[in-house]
């Protein structure tokens, strides 16, 4: 177990280094001059001498690798530079906006599991019956629907037509409802299929046939044997859904004017706030990779087959 965690941590470092390198590399490909952008976003038009001085000061005249290494050195100390748009440090900006996104993502994840699990299990048990077809139909629709359009339709129906919600999200629980629905529907649709598949896979195992032969009722087989075994998929789905939630947050937060890192980065992109965009990518990578590491470790701890393999 220890060697496994150490190995995974090693991979994690490589992945994060790769992501940071890519982010930095893409930024250097950007057509506009970072020094000029810095002044323009502050609202001043700089002279050529001032620009040259700033370029020197920002280290833009150094070779690429040198710049990357010095940037990386700062990043490792938690210093992502300061945002052109907001003025304060990227670190402060990110930690200010992160709770909003976490609140949204966390709620969506809980709601997703509460809906997806019962539906997936029902679809598997009632395989090829009407209920199964109905669930699969809606899951298919949910996968094919673009989330930004879904969000607008929800606003149109719930806020404009029915008047149940304000068009702009408020910070309270009620304001959370529409964004959470928007994030949840595509995820539920995708994961219902996973859960259905996992439960169906368990149902065809020999131990189920054996239990049936021993005269144990279908309900008991399902509750005490099949579902606990299928629960491992839950762990996998947490890992998968984090990526979906972080990616979806940008669009959903923008539409509902929710204060989080997703809407922040869209604003940052509009004014070419490079330090903030770089910070965003690296933070997202760290969150995503860490959650997946924890998920994998949990998977190892929970699955006796994987756990025992090392010992036999």
């Amino acid at each position: 177990m220890k060697t496994y965690i150490l190995k995974r941590l090693g991979q994690l470092v490589i992945v994060l280094l790769g992501v940071s390198f890519l982010t930095f590399f893409v930024t250097t490909l950007a057509p506009s001059d970072a020094a000029e952008m810095k002044y323009l976003s502050m609202g001043t038009t700089p002279t050529e001498e001032l620009l040259e001085a700033t370029r020197d000061e920002m280290g833009l005249n150094q070779p690429f690798l040198m710049r990357y290494l010095s940037w990386l050195g700062n990043v490792l100390q938690g210093d992502f530079g300061s945002s052109y748009k907001f003025g304060d440090s990227v670190f402060d900006q990110m930690s200010k906006k992160l709770p909003g996104t976490l609140k949204l993502a966390g709620t969506s994840m809980v709601v997703m599991f509460l809906i997806a699990f019962p539906l997936g299990i029902t679809a598997a048990v009632k395989k090829n019956k009407f209920v199964d077809y109905l669930i699969r139909f809606f899951s298919f629709m949910g996968i094919s629907m673009p989330n930004f359009w879904l969000a607008l339709i929800l606003i149109y129906v719930m806020s404009v037509k029915l008047g149940w919600f304000k068009v702009v999200s408020t910070d309270n629980l009620k304001g959370l409802i529409l964004p959470v629905i928007t994030l949840t529907i595509p995820m539920v649709s995708t994961y219902v299929r996973h859960i259905r598949g996992a439960v169906l896979g368990e149902l065809t195992q020999e131990y189920v046939v054996g239990a049936r032969a021993r005269g144990i009722s279908e309900k008991q087989i399902l509750i005490f044997h099949v579902i606990p075994n299928a629960m491992l998929t839950l762990v996998t789905l947490i890992g998968l859904s984090v990526g979906h939630l972080l990616g979806g947050a940008a669009i959903v937060e923008t539409i509902f004017s929710w204060h989080g890192i997703g809407s922040m980065v869209v604003e940052a992109i509009a004014v070419r706030d490079y330090p903030l965009i770089q910070g965003y990518v690296v933070w997202m990578a760290i969150i995503f990779v860490t959650v997946n590491l924890i998920v994998d470790i949990c998977y190892h701890l929970l699955d006796p087959q994987i756990r025992m393999k090392g010992r036999i």
Binding site: V26, S32, S144, F148, L152, G247, I269, Y274
Partner: protein, 295 residues
Amino acid sequence: MEQIIEKYKASRAEKRLTSPLQIKTVTGKRLRFGILLSLAVLLVIIAALGNILAPMDPLLTNYDMTLKPPSREYLCGTDVLGRDVFSRILCGASNSFSLSFLMVTIVAGIGIVLGTTSGYIGGRFDTVIMRITDIFLAFPSMVFAIAVAGILGPGLVNTIIALSLIQWTKYARMTRSLASSIREKNYIEQARFGGATEVQIMFKYVLPNLITPLVIMATLDIGMMMMSLAGLSFLGLASQPPTPEWGYMINESRQYMQTAPWMMIYPGMALLLVVIVFNLLGDSLRDILDPKDND
């Protein structure tokens, strides 16, 4: 106990063999695939002829006819500049289709070349390529697409770069695993003894084996590419006005949701329809070509 299990299995196997449903489902699958394929082809034709079929110029503004609801003249209503929404949807279709096809081709191309060489050559080259795919796969793709498109600046070319940069990895992964398993096969060994060059083996024996799974993946990918593209357009990162593009049209409609909901509803319906058809087509293609997944 054993006997009961055996009997149960035997009865199931028997059922599987004799069931008339079995034959029916195969033809049913073929039929479903046929219908979906013709639907998809029809959509492609409509998209290709979009500019000709459009009853009006999609860029023509008319300030007397702004935000008009759907009528006989304007099937899907007009937008804030008095442009015909229906014509814009038709012309937007050709953009969406050509870009999605182009991107799937680019992505699959890069993925296949890197994946097969990596799987076939193996060794250090393989390790490097696979670590690079790890980096991309260990990362939410939409986050990266938004960041890359954002840094490079809005525009179609940059969006294509951003999406291609991220999506090639899954093709590389798949072709690599297939190619490395094919490498071990006897017929490759025999071809080599027969004096075939490595390049000949690659084209004659390795690539043909990859086509089926690749076609399935690419079909399923078209809908996804269209959605990603529309999503980036919606954020204002891909298409620039006044080009008709579904994602951007939906973005423009946000402000007029109360007065002109048709501006938002119809482009979204078009996108939904196309994505559904291509997703269904991909699923049914998998049903036909990849029988081991079937129950």
